[in-house]
């Protein structure tokens, strides 16, 4: 079982003009990914772009792995242009995922924007919880059908076009005030992550947050992806991408 493998692209599905799902079938046996872990995909066979790109495992089952990707720059654009049947050079699953053993009815999961890609598989794993999902507009909220089977789904948008107008952090604050919350799992933009972390600390609630940092090796060798923490520099690719709020 190797964490370096080639996989065949069997499905590409557009969810908006900028968002797509890639479904891959590894051509050899690879370890099962855990929610919150990620893979490095090589977007091109040439040297431009040069580096692999990190993507969270979105969904996995029966020998397929799926990624939910937003077109951002060179690498994601090339990935979006791949044709079915193409073989992709992959590494993964990498990093520390979410600790599943503490998931309970008193857990809250929070996703901001593309953070959904990282927590979606957590929600498939355990549905009896509250999920707060925020985005700029309703067009940037995805998978609402699939998410309807959760105990409770709270959507927030910046423009109020779906759910409440506001942001995920305010929504989380409200839930914490109203309900018993013992653990929070979050993934979103840097600013949201910081705020969630502060909020949980002030309420002494256990929390796990997934962070992003630019990566080269993905295996802890290059020291490129570090995050400054009170305990010193931590590598997002190996000590993370999911960090306990206690570490932050």
């Amino acid at each position: 079982m190797s964490r370096r493998f080639t996989a065949r692209l069997i499905e590409k599905r557009w969810l908006s003009s900028e968002h797509f799902l890639l479904r891959l079938v590894p051509e050899e046996k690879t370890p099962e990914p855990k929610p919150g872990q990620f893979y490095l995909l090589r977007p091109s066979d040439t040297y431009d772009p040069l580096l692999r790109r990190p993507f969270s495992i979105f969904r996995s089952s029966k020998g397929t792995i799926e990624f939910f990707i937003e077109k951002k720059g060179k690498g994601t654009t090339l990935l979006s242009e791949l044709q079915k049947g193409k073989r992709l050079d992959c590494m993964g699953p990498l990093g520390r995922g979410f600790p599943l053993n503490i998931l309970s009815q008193d857990s809250v999961v929070v996703a901001g924007g593309m953070g959904i890609a990282s927590v979606f598989s957590l929600l498939e794993h355990f549905k009896d919880l509250i999920f707060i999902y925020g985005a700029r507009t309703k067009e940037q909220l995805f998978f609402l059908d699939e998410l309807s089977s959760l105990k409770r789904l709270i959507t927030v948008t910046e423009d109020g076009s779906h759910g409440k107008r506001g942001n995920t952090v305010d929504a989380l604050k409200e839930v914490i005030e109203e309900e018993r919350v013992t653990s929070v799992f979050a993934c979103g933009p840097e600013g949201m992550n910081q705020s969630v972390s502060r909020l949980l600390k002030s309420h002494s609630i256990e929390g796990y947050i997934s962070f992003e940092e630019r990566m080269a090796c993905g295996v802890g060798a290059c020291l490129g992806c570090v995050k400054e923490t009170p305990q010193g520099m931590k590598r997002v690719c190996t000590e993370g991408p999911v960090f306990s709020v206690k570490e932050l």
């Binding site: 370096r4 431009d48 080269a216 090796c217 993905g218 295996v219 290059c222 020291l223 992806c225």
Partner: protein, 306 residues
């Protein structure tokens, strides 16, 4: 088919080593590469005491290359000897320790403590010399001379390699200086100081502003420098800079390298080192070359004048 090469008194089963800072302390890649298959493992630059390095963001991609400003982050000499070296000693592969310091004395102490414990010590001289106002040893000839002369006295058992910076105006004469002061080998090139700016935020892409450029983009610069150094010195050269595949490695060897180091390529292809070893073997078969050492400096050239 002989793939064995010698760098000073370090014998390598093949000419392919890792480039410092791109292969961690070996363990990080041991799942993807059989460390026994490598010519040597070169570890991330070690300093006397542990260091935190520069703040993030530390890396950014550029056309056919990347910038890094990791800085000096490392576990420090103690932890290296206690926690990292024992793992590498489980393999039948020479270990090269890249070292860095703020002043000549740092290097001397590092060498004293490492000598004989590892097959080779590689001096990273691109660091600022704090005692001399922060000018890098790499471009201050006097300081470089003193540095090599002094550490040479401390390195009695291990092989002493000096790693050259491409910033030098005249890399050939710097390499001659290294040879005269007693270096057993030179390695080149280190990364090239470079910079990128995010035009939307107007902020530098790296928190440290300037980082080092590595990857395929710099290969033609490295090959040129290795060739220039090969014309100037007799000690062996370890060539590096943008080696992605066997063809690149052979290009460096034809230019004059006895051995090559693979850096950024590890990130792109974690098995790059072993793929390159296999590719070199194929090349040797195809060209009926029985000894890898025949390739070194094997470029055929004459300059036609006008």
């Amino acid at each position: 088919m002989n793939l064995t090469v010698k760098i000073g008194n370090m014998t390598m089963k093949n000419p392919v080593m890792t480039a410092s800072g791109t292969f961690g302390y070996g363990a990080e890649y041991s799942e993807f590469v059989d460390l026994n298959a490598l010519g040597a493992v070169v570890v991330k630059g070690i300093s006397l005491r542990p260091r935190e390095g520069n703040p993030p963001p530390r890396i950014v991609e550029t056309p056919c290359g990347m910038l890094n400003s990791i800085g000096l982050q490392n576990v420090g000499l103690e932890a290296f000897l206690k926690e990292k070296l024992p793992f590498l000693r489980r393999y039948d592969t020479p270990v090269v320790v890249n070292i860095l310091g703020d002043c000549v004395e740092d290097y001397e102490e590092l060498c004293t403590r490492l000598d004989g414990k590892v097959e080779a010590i590689e001096l990273n001289v691109s660091c600022p010399n704090v005692k001399k106002g922060g000018i890098s040893f790499a471009i201050d000839r006097e300081a470089l001379k003193e540095l090599i002369g002094k550490v040479r006295k401390k390195v009695k058992h291990s092989t002493l390699i000096v790693k050259l910076s491409p910033v030098s105006e005249d890399i050939a004469s710097i390499s001659v200086l290294c040879e005269k002061e007693g270096a057993d080998a030179v390695s080149l090139i280190n990364t090239i100081p470079a910079m990128a700016i995010d035009i939307e935020t107007r902020r530098p892409a790296l928190a440290n502003l300037i980082g080092g450029l590595s990857g395929p983009a710099i290969k033609p610069i490295g090959v040129r420098m290795v060739w220039q150094v090969y014309q100037a010195v007799k000690i062996p050269i370890i060539g590096m800079g943008g080696i992605m595949n066997a063809s690149d490695a052979i290009e460096y060897m034809l230019a004059g390298a006895t051995s090559v180091a693979v850096g950024t390529a590890n990130f792109v292809n974690p098995s790059a080192t072993v793929d390159i070893i296999e590719g070199i073997k194929d090349y040797m078969k195809r060209h009926s070359i029985s000894d890898i050492n025949e390739i070194t400096g094997g470029i055929i050239w004459e300059i036609k004048d006008h």
